[in-house]
Amino acid sequence: MSDENRREEQGDGLSRRAFLQRGGIYGAGVLVALNLPRPKAAAAAAQSTEPVVLSRVEWANLEAATARIIPTDHQPGAREANCVNFIDKALANEDSVAVPLYKGGLAALVGVAQARHGQGFSALDAAQQDAILADLEKGAAAEWAIAEQLPSPLFFETLRAHTIVGFLADPAYGGNADFAGWRVAGYPGPRHRRGGYTPDQVEGKAPIVPIWEQ
C-alpha cells in the first residue's frame, strides 16, 4: 500500500460519515471502520500508567478534552476511567500512526485556548472548553493554526472515537479504570472465559452479577 493510500485510509477511517458508510450498521464488522492498526497496548498499559508518548502538558490537555467528551456527573466519566492513559498506550503501540495527529492537534488546541483566554486548555473552565471543542468539531475555530495539515474536525473525531474506546474497552488496555465505563453502561463484562450465562439469566429470571463483583 502506498503512503498516499495509507493516509487516505487513515483519514477516511476516522471521519464520521465514512465511519458510518463503510460498514453499514449490521453486516460489515461495523467498527472495522476505525481501521486502527495492530495491538500490543494491553501489555504496555499493564506496565505503567505514566505517560509514554505524551508529555505531561499534552497529557493534561488531552485528559481535559476527554473529560468533556464523556463528562463526570453522578457517575464517573473519561477522567476517572483514565481514557488519556488508554490513548497514550495505544499511541505507543498499535495506533502509533496517530502520534503526529495528537502532537500537532494538542499543540493547536492549546493555541486556540491561548488565543481566546490566555491560558492552556486544561486550565479553562468547562464552558470555555466546550465552546472550543464545539468549534473544532465544526471546523469553526479561526485560531486553529494547522487547518491545512490537520483539519480540526479530523482531530476532534479521532479524540472522540478514542475516548469512547478507552472508556469501554477492557481495562487491560489502560482505560475503563475500575470498570468505570462498564459500570456507566450497565454492561456486566465479557463472559466467554467465565462460563457465560444460564438460561434463567438469559430469560431474565435470575440476577446477573457484574464481573467486578464476583
Binding site: L168, D170, Y187
Partner: protein
C-alpha cells in the same frame, strides 16, 4: 512428479469445508489450501477491542478496494466482514440457519424482468435442495421449531434440536410483533441448545457474531466438518497457502493450483478436480488472476460473468430504547424473528423483501454501541452529557433489523484492482457496489415497519431509524458485508452464467465453485445454510458421478 490428488479444495469455509468432509468420507484424497492460519477455541475470547474494533483475530492480511461505480475513485481498506482462517468466515457467523423459500429459486419467473437488474432463476428448485437442507440441519445441529413460521419453506423433518431460551429482548420484540398481528418465532440457529454431535450446549455468553465460539457450541466447518475430515487420514490441509493461479493444460482442464506460502515462496499442487470456495470476493479474484491463452479474460469466464452480479444484504435497522434491562449482552445474536412481511408485494413500490429479527449486534458490544449511536443525532450532541446518557441506555436497547434482498446488477461486482497490491504483490479484489432503486425503496419501507414494531413493543424512543445520516442514499452504497453472493452465478445458459446446475464450470469440466458466488439471487434470509446445503448437494453428485466413472 508430485503426487496428484483426487481433489484440490481452495478455502475451508462453509462450501469448501463441507466438500472436504464429504469427499474425504467417500475415500477421495483431498488437498485443501487455506489462505489463513489456524485459529481455535483458545483464541476465541470476547474482547471487543481485539475481535471487532481492531479485527485482528480472523483476517489480519485482508485488503480490498471499494468504489461506488466504474467512474468513482477507489478507497483501500477492509470492507467485507470475512475470516481468512481455517474454517473461513463461518467461524464467526451468527448461525441463523434458514431454508430459502421456493420462490427464492425463481425470482425472474415470478417477478419478470426489472430494469437495471440482472435477475435470473436458479437452475434448481427448492425440491432439489430440500434433502440437503435436512442433511445440513442434522450435521450442524440446527435448533428451533420450524412449525412456528407459517411463511417459511415447507419442511417435513423437524429440526434436530429444540429452541433456545427466549432472551428478554426477544420476548419484548415478540410482544410488539404479536400486537401488530405478526407471528414471531425462535430463529433457527446452528447453535447447540443441548449437547449434540460431540459438542456442548451454548453458554449464552452474548458475543457470538464476529466472534469464534470458545466451546464449539456453534456449528462451523471448524467444529463439525474439518475434524471429521482430518480423522479420515485422507486430508492434506495446508495453511497460509494463498492460491494465485489455477493452471490449465492443453486440453483446457485445471491441473491443480499454484500458491504462495507465508514466506512468499511458490508451490504447486496437482489434482484431478479443483473446487474453489474462496468466497464471493476471493473466488472471482482467483479466477480473474488465472489468465491463460485459452482463457484470456480469466478462467471459466467466457461468459464475462465472473465477478459480476455481486449482491450483499442490506440491513435497515432501528434501535428502540426501553425502560428495563433487556439483557442483550446474553445469549447469541438473534433469538426471535418474524416473516410476515417477507413475501414480495409490488404494491409497496418494490419487489422482494426479507425476514425481520431482533439482534444484539450493538447490545453485547458497548464500544460498537456507543461509537455508532454517538453518530446518531436523534438524541442531540454526539459528545458530552448527551453521549453519556446514550451510554447509560446501553442495556435498555433493542435492535431490530431486516435481512433485505438486493437486486443483482451486472455492474456490481469484483475485479482486480489495477493499482493496489497485497503483501505478496498480487492485485487485491476491487469491489464495485451500489444500490438499485428497488433496494432503496425497500430500505425505507422496512425502516418504517421496524419503528412500528419497536413502538408496539413499548420503546420510549427510537434511534438510528429516524436519522437521515444513516440512511442509505442513491449515491451511497453499503460497503462490505458478511453476506456476499453471486459473482460466479449458476445457470443453464453458458453465455449468461459461469456454472452449471452442479456448480461445475460450463467451460472447464474439472472446475467447481461451491461458496456463495454460485447464487443467482440472494433471498431475504441469511445465506449460509443454503451454501452448506448446496455443498452437500454438489458433493453427493460428485461422488455419484465419480463412482460411475463420469468425471
Amino acid at each position: 512428479m508430485a503426487e496428484e490428488y483426487d481433489v484440490c479444495v481452495i478455502g475451508t469455509g462453509a462450501g469448501g469445508g463441507v466438500m472436504i468432509d464429504q469427499l474425504t468420507a467417500a475415500g477421495f484424497r483431498v488437498v485443501a489450501l487455506e489462505r489463513g492460519g489456524r485459529v481455535g477455541p483458545i483464541d476465541f475470547d470476547d474482547d471487543e477491542l481485539r475481535n471487532v474494533i481492531r479485527d485482528e483475530v480472523f483476517s489480519p492480511h485482508q485488503l480490498e478496494t471499494y468504489r461506488f461505480d466504474a467512474s468513482s475513485p477507489s478507497q483501500t481498506g477492509r470492507f467485507s466482514h470475512l475470516a481468512h482462517c481455517v474454517g473461513g468466515t463461518i467461524t464467526h457467523w451468527a448461525a441463523w440457519s434458514w431454508r430459502f423459500k421456493p420462490d427464492d429459486f425463481e425470482v425472474l419467473s415470478k417477478e419478470g424482468p426489472v430494469a437495471g437488474a440482472n435477475l435470473a432463476d436458479w437452475p434448481i428448485g427448492y425440491d432439489e435442495l430440500e434433502p440437503f437442507y435436512t442433511q445440513a440441519e442434522r450435521d450442524f445441529g440446527v435448533a428451533g421449531d420450524n412449525t412456528k413460521n407459517p411463511f417459511g419453506a415447507p419442511q417435513e423433518t423437524p429440526l434436530p434440536n429444540p429452541p433456545h431460551p427466549v432472551r428478554v429482548s426477544a420476548r419484548k420484540f415478540s410482544q410488539g410483533a404479536k400486537k401488530l398481528g405478526y407471528h414471531p418465532f425462535a430463529v433457527p440457529k446452528a447453535i447447540n441448545s443441548q449437547p449434540y454431535g460431540g459438542r456442548p450446549r451454548c453458554m449464552y455468553g452474548g458475543a457470538c457474531r464476529s466472534y469464534g465460539c470458545p466451546i464449539h457450541a456453534k456449528a462451523t466447518t471448524l467444529s463439525v466438518s474439518l475434524p471429521r475430515a482430518e480423522r479420515t487420514g485422507k486430508l492434506d490441509l495446508r495453511i497460509d497457502a494463498m492460491v494465485f493461479e489455477l493452471p490449465v493444460d492443453d486440453a483446457g482442464r485445471v491441473t491443480g493450483a499454484r500458491y504462495l506460502d507465508a514466506a512468499g515462496s511458490a508451490h504447486e499442487v496437482r489434482a484431478r478436480h479443483t473446487i474453489v470456495s474462496a468466497g464471493s470476493i476471493g473466488t472471482p479474484q482467483l479466477l480473474l488472476m488465472s489468465k491463460s491463452g485459452a482463457f484470456p479474460d480469466g478462467l471459466a469466464n467466457g461468459s464475462g460473468q465472473v465477478g459480476r452480479n455481486l449482491t450483499f444484504h442490506h440491513h435497515p435497522s432501528v434501535i428502540g430504547v426501553f425502560d428495563e434491562d433487556l439483557r442483550g449482552y446474553t445469549g447469541f445474536e438473534s433469538h426471535a424473528a418474524f416473516d410476515d412481511l417477507h413475501a414480495s408485494d409490488p404494491k409497496r413500490g418494490f419487489i422482494r423483501g426479507g425476514v425481520i429479527g431482533e439482534l444484539n449486534t450493538f447490545t453485547h458490544q458497548p464500544i460498537a454501541y456507543a461509537a455508532v449511536l454517538a453518530n446518531d443525532h436523534t438524541f442531540g450532541s454526539s459528545w458530552g452529557a448527551g453521549l453519556k446518557d446514550r451510554i447509560r441506555a446501553f442495556p435498555r436497547t433493542l435492535t431490530l433489523t431486516v435481512i433485505a434482498e438486493e437486486m443483482p446488477m451486472e455492474e456490481n461486482g469484483v475485479d482486480l484492482d489495477p493499482d493496489v497490491k497485497d503483501r505478496f504483490g498480487l492485485p487485491v479484489p476491487r469491489v464495485t457496489k451500489r444500490h438499485h432503486d428497488n433496494d432503496l425503496a425497500m430500505f425505507a419501507w422496512y425502516e418504517d415497519k421496524l419503528v412500528e414494531v419497536a413502538e408496539a413493543a413499548g420503546a420510549e424512543s427510537i434511534a438510528l431509524g429516524r436519522n437521515p445520516d444513516v440512511h442509505i442514499t442513491k449515491t451511497q452504497a453499503q460497503k462490505g458485508n458478511a453476506h456476499n453472493h453471486g459473482t460466479a452465478r449458476m445457470g443453464t445458459d453458458p453465455s449468461k452464467s459461469v456454472l452449471d446446475k452442479w456448480c461445475r464450470s460450463h467451460e472447464v469440466p474439472n472446475l467447481w465453485v461451491v461458496d456463495g458466488s454460485f447464487m443467482p439471487t440472494s433471498s431475504g434470509y441469511n445465506p449460509t445454510l443454503t451454501i452448506l446445503a448446496n455443498a452437500y448437494r454438489v458433493a453427493d453428485h460428485f461422488v455419484r458421478e465419480a463412482k460411475k466413472g463420469s468425471l
